[in-house]
Symmetry: C2
């Protein structure tokens, strides 16, 4: 469904949001430990998230990553996915045709559209914030 990079990106975003809510800034090492991801690779993804204003970074001692309050409220899963994987997941043709559309659809166009639209809608309505709730309560997990 998503690339590894995107999976790590989503997990990192949720973790950073969870920590930011209680006022804690976290660094690369803490993040990759918390979500069980390769550190250097995760660092690249964090750069991408930073450039896309999904998280904020600060260098130096006591630096690290935070998600500002406004972002915690507004950032949706779709923003994270788009920053890393683009919109191919729910825009592209299910059979890989470049010019597949309503006028010249592939054989699975309509059937895929239903699934893709549901995915798109889910990504666009799910906030990172709400995904931190179960985490805090120990009902959901970001590794294993």
């Amino acid at each position: 469904m998503f690339s590894k990079a995107c999976e790590y990106g989503i997990r990192a975003s949720i973790y950073i949001a969870e920590q930011s809510i209680v006022g804690i800034r976290v660094n690369q090492k803490q993040i990759s430990k918390a979500i069980d991801s390769p550190e250097a690779f995760t660092a690249k993804i964090l750069q991408l998230l930073t450039k896309n204003n999904i998280i904020n970074s600060e260098k130096g001692p006591s630096g690290g990553f935070i998600m500002v309050p406004q972002s915690i409220e507004k950032i949706k899963l779709s923003h994270v996915v788009f920053a890393i994987d683009g919109d191919e997941v729910y825009k592209g043709c299910g059979l890989g045709l470049k010019k597949c559309n309503e006028k010249k659809p592939c054989p699975v166009h309509d059937k895929f559209k239903l699934v893709r639209d549901e995915l798109k809608n889910m990504l666009e309505t799910t906030t990172i914030k709400e995904l931190t709730h179960g985490l805090k309560d120990g009902f959901t997990f970001l590794k294993r």
Copy 2:
């Protein structure tokens, strides 16, 4: 969503079924031309589909690929996808966790489950045969 191999595999299956219905056996060259895919790579995928009894192959002059009547009736999209990509698409965790399940779910588990179940259901109920209909009538396409 699916790998390139799987996309080609689905397109090839639909094309072969369409031709088989009117009693025509097709070869690698015709298939890759009809679905606009790399010939040698497509040949590999056809081998895979053959091994999984989705299509039948015959060597020699006038040989090629066909889908037998029984398969045309019974083969679902899910069979083709499973033969090439496995069931990771609708079984695996959306965030890539190895041990994500109802008891220890990732934060997006439930939301993803809805989308994945719909995808799974669509793949398991859609026959290759029904996908050939629009193709025959010129309403749907396998390339571009």
